[in-house]
């Protein structure tokens, strides 16, 4: 079942990518002056296919576009809020629009999902990215819940010739999927626990929170289902609708602003499109920023988005 090794998504993903760069000369790596120990190795081993463009996210996207149009499979790397919002219009024009006319494989790796850079404050928190990236046509939005999922996205990222946003947590964490498994699939979600009448439908870090909440309820003798949704566009809507139709209540859980186009909107639209009867509650971040320092889980509780708050909602629904 659960593994215990703490790893970061980026270390695992970049290590796997490094191995592939040796076999595939079409892979190009660009960073906006954002590093990792594995990145040093990529720079050393493949200096011809590694460029640090400097703290210049607009140019990061534009250079990536040019390389992708020349046939390269491009990985761009920066802190999540900067690789999405600082260069949002470059992404819209050169990736979203352009990829409707030309095949382009550009992967935007944003590190620092939600509050994961907790002490760096609101400029480094990434609470808008899920909704604003979801609004752009032709771009995939992938939100892994652990490093095993992050690693298993690699094959898809290489093979799918379209732009993608990969939202990575910045903190090392234990795996929730079996270490040797390949949990990614094009369906876009995995049922981690079935049963009961209440389903926690979570993405990213919140999937771990959902599992913890589910375990606490299980000790109390109440079954709660957990679904990890990692593909926030182009997922199999029919299958997801069918899966969720088994539950009377669904609680969406995301470490991002709610009511603005993220996971909760995805589920609300699904419910509407497929005329599903379940009740839907949203767990996530309300409409303001957070300046005060605190542990990640304290910040979440402050927004009624922590485990305690989630359990309260679950207990009310029983």
């Amino acid at each position: 079942m659960s593994a215990t090794k703490n790893k970061t998504m980026r270390d695992v993903f970049l290590s796997a990518l490094l191995a592939r760069m040796g076999q595939d000369s079409s892979i190009f790596f660009l960073t906006a002056d954002f590093g990792s120990p594995v990145l040093d190795q990529i720079r050393n081993d493949f200096p011809e296919r590694f460029i640090n463009v400097g703290i210049a996210e607009q140019n990061l996207i534009n250079v990536a576009t040019g390389l992708a149009l020349e046939g390269y499979r491009v990985y761009t790397y920066a802190i999540a809020p900067f690789i999405t919002m600082r260069c949002y219009e470059q992404i819209k024009v050169n990736l979203s629009l352009m990829s409707q006319l030309r095949k382009m494989n550009v992967n935007l790796i944003g590190v620092g999902a939600g509050f994961s850079y907790v002490v760096s404050g609101p400029t480094h928190h990434s609470l808008e990215d899920l909704s604003i990236m979801r609004t752009l046509p032709n771009i995939e939005v992938l939100s892994p819940a652990d490093w095993v999922m992050a690693e298993s996205i690699l094959d898809f990222s290489l093979d799918s010739h379209q732009p993608k946003y990969l939202r990575f947590d910045s903190q090392p964490a234990p795996a929730i999927y079996a270490e040797d498994s390949k949990p990614f699939n094009k369906r876009g979600f995995n049922v981690l626990n079935a049963g009961g009448t209440i389903c926690l439908a979570a993405t990213g870090y919140m999937t771990t929170q959902a599992i913890n909440a589910r375990n606490i309820m299980a000790e109390e003798g109440v079954e709660v289902a957990v679904i990890d949704i990692f593909r926030l566009k182009n997922f199999d809507a029919v299958m997801l609708a069918k899966t969720l139709s088994c539950y009377s209540n669904v609680i969406s859980m995301e470490e991002g602003f709610i009511g603005k186009g993220g996971l909760d909107s995805l589920l609300l639209n699904l419910k509407n499109d497929y005329e599903l009867a379940f009740g839907l509650k949203s767990v996530g971040i309300g409409d303001n920023y957070h300046f005060e320092l605190g542990f990640r889980d304290e910040l979440l509780e402050g927004y009624h988005a922590g485990i305690k708050s989630t359990l309260e909602i679950v207990r009310e629904l029983i």
């Binding site: 190009f28 011809e48 296919r49 460029i51 463009v53 400097g54 210049a56 607009q58 140019n59 996207i61 534009n62 250079v63 990536a64 576009t65 040019g66 390389l67 992708a68 149009l69 020349e70 046939g71 390269y72 219009e89 470059q90 024009v93 050169n94 629009l97 352009m98 006319l101 030309r102």
Partner: protein
């Protein structure tokens, strides 16, 4: 694609200006003034033996990449692409009409265009990515990017200008259509960014200033730069007149947002230096 005599190039310039005015007559929402200032640059690139291209296969790998970053100001490229058989000349008649791929801002739905246009400050960075990619592929193809001087206010250009020099992109040539006018005023009044050559030099670029309406000078600078590979990116600053050949539009600081009436265009076609 053959070298043409200076007179032949001048004839092409006159023809393209005429056709541009005719396009503007059909689609008054087109940006005619900034399309008129870059006619010699476009003619030199396509008829002066500069660009490698293949109209039957616009995405031919061996082509030179021409990124028209000031896309809205390149309506004058439509008649050139039609003349070279990138698409049928009959398409020019349909500009601006429902179902036509020729709008006031060109996108790569038009054969021959490489990138999305309409938003400024994108083309040079994309061109830098292409130039790096071509170098890594050991391709002899080169990248040419056309920007407007007003467009240089976009900071993303300067990120790319630093990048190109650091990465020694000597397969990249930038052409600035330096018509001295942005949308609402003269650049010198909005925010004076002259002298451009000194700025580019200090960023590590090779620069050359030319009279952008002297086809011989423009063509010579492009030819020369195409053969220089000394580890530096290159910029041709083409001093031009906004609205060149457009009568009252010439050097009008608001020419960017002005249209010519049918009557004005008809007079220009008959009596002006754009007449045949």
């Amino acid at each position: 694609m053959t070298f043409q005599t200076e007179q032949q190039l001048k004839d092409k310039v006159r023809h393209v200006r005429r056709e541009t005015l005719l396009l503007h007559r059909r689609a008054p929402e087109t940006r005619v003034a900034s399309s008129l200032s870059c006619v010699e640059i476009l003619v030199a690139l396509y008829y002066g033996g500069i660009l490698k291209f293949n109209p039957e296969w616009p995405q031919w790998e061996g082509r030179d990449r021409f990124v028209v970053s000031k896309g809205h100001g390149s309506i004058s490229l439509y008649p050139i692409l039609a003349d070279l058989n990138f698409f049928p000349a009959s398409e020019l008649e349909k500009i601006g009409q429902s179902g036509s791929f020729l709008g006031s801002i060109p996108d790569p739905v038009i054969p021959g265009y490489e990138t999305i246009n309409g938003s400024l400050g994108h083309g040079l960075g994309v061109g830098c990515g292409m130039a790096v990619g071509l170098k890594r592929k050991k391709s002899s193809s080169q990248v040419f990017v056309l920007v407007g001087d007003g467009e240089l206010y976009e900071g993303s250009n300067w990120e790319a200008i630093m990048f190109a020099a650091h990465h020694r992109l000597d397969n990249l040539t930038l052409i600035v259509d330096h018509n001295k006018i942005s949308m609402l005023d003269f650049c010198a009044e909005i925010m004076d960014h002259s002298p451009l050559d000194e700025k580019f030099k200090s960023f590590g670029w090779v620069t050359e200033d030319v009279d952008g309406h002297d086809i011989k000078q423009v063509n010579a600078a492009l030819s020369e730069f195409k053969d220089i590979h000394n580890g530096q990116p290159k910029v041709i600053i083409a001093h031009t007149i906004k609205g060149k050949g457009g009568g009252a539009l010439e050097n009008d600081k608001l020419s960017h947002i002005k249209s010519l009436t049918h009557a004005q265009i008809d007079i220009l076609l008959e009596v002006n230096d754009v007449s045949n």
